[in-house]
Amino acid sequence: MLRFVKHHLESILGIEIYPIISFLIFFLFFITVLIYLIKLDKKHIQKLKNIPFE
């Protein structure tokens, strides 16, 4: 089974673009998190913060 996976990975065409794609995913993901954080409602944050004390 493993050999099957191995051979397919070895023969991926244009594998060079792989790291570039992953970097793009990476940065887009973090920009999304940042935008979300900037827009986040303060009341909601206070509520979440206090969960351990409820």
Binding site: L2, L9, Y18, F29, V33, L37, L40, N50, P52
Partner: protein, 716 residues
């Protein structure tokens, strides 16, 4: 979310399971650290190896690491998770039966590790030494843990999942992935297997695992515990919840990529090394974000920290976390790694993380939990304070000599005379000089251990004075339904949906994991095959298994880095193509003794008689050596009953032994053994060719020979 006051439900928290894990963490903490103390002193007084197999350094060191990581820290994680999860979700654990299976299953795994490792049953892959039946058991018990945790999350009475739980989810899913991928092995007997991967591939998979075991077993679950227990102990909410969100996603995403920093300057492709280094440096940001979030939670209550040992433990734990996570990226820089790798610097680094971050956070948690669960004040705050101070001093006394030893060792290895020769050509000189530092480290460890014993006394006294509450009554309104909010942002959405959280976490860690595996799988086409590299002979293969059994790789590397100081000392640097038949790879991670990659070649080759005497007692050939003696290798008969099976297994894994060779193997083995025994006889050493020592000598004499043959071919 809508709650109804009429709908207040009564339920009970399960404290008994927390208590069980808590006792286990204390018991195994004591045992694991005691073994650590013994092996620390073995490096100063080799007599402490006691001349018997089960107590030698090479077998006890994996026992120490496994005990402190999986038994001490592991049970600590489960105690903290089972306590906090129930309270954060306002519900009892999903199933008491699953809790019990999880607890007893985990303890049985630890017990089997404690038996098999000293007996020499090991895969040789660091922190994954346990053999295949135990690996399967770990997988099953881990699934039980996840099942129980998710069942609990799904029947919760609160809408949102607190950040600690995200860390628990990421821990569960990533450890499962790491363990399964790294444990692909081919069984040849009940407790013997060969890694599915070979050489460079095996090394990359192993350090992807090894690095992320630190990330997802020693770090993320403890960060979850930190986000619960630090605010609880400080009686104020976490400093910044926004920061904790960034901390979580950044940490799990970046950590998984950084594994190749364990293999800098090795035979791994350069781009994979650089990728590992870049992500390691990026890791500083989320790690320090998390540390500062923990420390700043204590803002405005530093006066309390002065009086409360629990908070003191937590402050030192967070500081240790900060130090270790600053040092980690530093060690990933190639120029720093060139100095630190293979030296005691690594040992210092991991113990700052282990002793301060994991150790002290566990102690803080224990001092907080025991009085609450036994419903009585702590027996003695003074003793807890004493524990804190002797523990902190212990860490300092441990770390400073190890840093010193690391630098000393590295600079001595690299120093040349004006004439251009190695200043310390005899490796032993660079070892004996460290003995006093090793002694001081042992004393530091002993101080830390005394603190732990004092804690045990304090906690036992507290428990005896109190009254344990197995089932703690609680009440909370039932969760009626999720209220869909207009314009709900994705994160608010996911905070309420544990299964989606699990899937997203898995995707994130899998992306990093897959990217790291690309070089692994491309390696076959990237690495020029070296025509003179041939499979081991049956005798050498058996010798290699003895090398693995005795844990020789714990102190001896087989990886010559491309530095002049190393090629002068050991010969030509190691090439990826040399290891294509090595299931598992044996590069090692520490040079307490010299590298052995070229031990059988002209420059380093020694007579068979030298190896025989050296194994009988290393101090006969190398005065002041700290290596343990291995007299049983001379007495034990070599077990050839599974030699044929081993050849067959290797062929299945891709080693080109001819079809049917398994039937010839033992005959060839005996022929080669007789040649070595005859040679020893000429040197006035009479030993039967059937003894284990002969196989080990054959293996050692083979190391590095293939590549020197290639040179000869080129010259011809």
């Amino acid at each position: 979310m809508e709650h109804s006051s009429k709908n207040l439900e009564k339920f009970e928290y399960d404290n008994a399971i927390v208590r069980n894990f808590l006792i286990a963490t204390v018991v195994f903490g004591v045992i694991g650290m005691l073994v650590g103390l013994l092996i620390a002193f073995q490096l100063v007084f080799p007599e402490l190896n006691f001349g018997v197999p089960i107590t030698t350094f090479g077998r006890l060191r994996p026992l120490h690491t496994n005990a402190v990581i999986f038994a001490f820290v592991g049970n600590g994680i489960f105690a903290g998770v089972y306590y906090s999860l129930q309270r954060l979700l306002k519900t009892r654990m999903y199933s008491d039966t699953l809790s019990k299976i999880h607890f007893w299953g985990w303890q049985l795994i630890i017990l089997s590790a404690a038996i098999t490792l000293p007996l020499g049953y090991t895969t040789s892959k660091e922190y994954a030494e346990l053999e295949w039946p135990i690996d399967i058991a770990i997988t099953l018990i881990w699934v039980v843990f996840g099942w129980n945790m998710f069942g609990t999350i799904l029947k919760r009475r609160v809408e949102h999942l607190y950040v600690a739980i995200w860390f628990y989810i990421a821990t569960f899913v990533t450890v499962a992935m790491l363990h399964i991928v790294n444990s692909f092995e081919f069984p040849v007997a009940f407790l013997k297997s060969y890694s599915w991967y070979a050489g460079v591939q095996d090394a990359l998979v192993q350090w992807w695992y090894g690095h992320n075991a630190v990330a997802f077993f020693l770090t993320t679950p403890y960060l979850g515990l930190m986000y619960y227990f630090v605010p609880k102990a400080a009686e104020r909410p976490v400093y910044s919840y926004k920061l904790s969100i960034i901390h979580f996603w950044a940490l799990i995403f970046i950590y998984i990529w950084a594994g190749p920093h364990h293999l800098l300057y090795s035979a791994l492709p350069d781009w994979a090394q650089s990728l590992g280094a870049v992500f390691s440096v990026m890791l500083i940001a989320p790690s320090w974000g998390g540390m500062l979030n923990g420390l700043l939670t204590l803002r405005g209550c530093w006066d309390k920290v002065k009086l409360e040992p629990i908070l003191k433990f937590m402050v030192v734990a967070l500081t240790g976390y900060g130090m270790a996570t600053f040092e980690g990226p530093l060690l990933s820089l190639k120029n720093v790694n060139a100095i630190s790798h293979f030296t005691d610097w690594t040992i210092a680094h991991v113990h700052i993380g282990g002793l301060a971050w994991n150790g002290f956070l566990t102690f803080g948690m224990l001092y907080w939990l025991v009085p609450r669960m036994w419903r009585t004040p702590l027996y003695s705050k003074k003793l807890a304070d004493f524990h804190f101070w002797i523990g902190t001093l212990g860490i300092i006394f441990y770390a400073i000599p190890m840093y010193w030893a690391g630098f000393t060792q590295s600079f001595m290895w690299k120093e040349f005379t004006e004439e251009g020769f190695l200043k310390y050509p005899n490796f032993l000189e660079t070892v004996t000089v460290l003995k006093n530092l090793y002694l001081m480290r042992g004393i530091g460890g002993a101080m830390y251990f005394i603190g732990v014993i004092v804690m045990v006394y304090n906690l036992v006294k507290t428990a005896y004075a109190g009254n344990f509450l197995s089932n703690e009554s609680a009440e909370a309104p039932a969760l009626i339904r999720f209220q869909e909010e207009k314009q709900e942002y994705w994160h608010k959405w996911i905070e309420k949906r544990p299964v989606q959280m699990l899937v997203l976490s898995l995707i994130l860690v899998a992306i990093g994991g897959i990217i790291e595996f690309v070089p692994t799988f491309l390696i076959k086409s990237n690495v020029p095959t070296i025509s003179s590299v041939k499979p081991y002979t049956p005798l050498e293969l058996e010798g290699r298994d003895i090398y693995i059994r005795e844990g020789c790789y714990v102190c001896h590397s087989q990886m010559i880095r491309p530095f002049r100081s190393e090629t002068e000392r050991y010969g030509e640097y190691s090439k990826a193509g040399e290891f294509v038949y090595d299931h598992p790879f044996l590069w090692g991670s520490k040079r307490t003794g010299p590298d052995l990659a070229r031990e059988g070649t002209m420059k380093l080759r020694k007579p068979n008689a030298w190896h025989f005497t050296h194994m009988l007692d290393p101090r006969l050939t190398s005065p002041n050596s700290i290596m343990p003696p291995y007299p049983w290798l001379i007495d034990n008969d070599l077990d050839v009953s599974s030699t044929g099976k081993k050849i067959q297994a290797m062929r299945t894994l891709g080693v080109p032994y001819p079809e049917g060779y398994e039937n010839e193997a033992v005959k060839d083995l005996m022929k080669q053994a007789k040649e070595i025994a005859d040679d020893l006889k000429n040197q006035n050493i009479t030993v039967s060719p059937e003894k284990e020592i002969i196989a080990l000598i054959a293996y050692l004499q083979r190391l590095g020979v293939d590549i020197s043959l290639e040179k000869k071919q080129v010259l011809k």
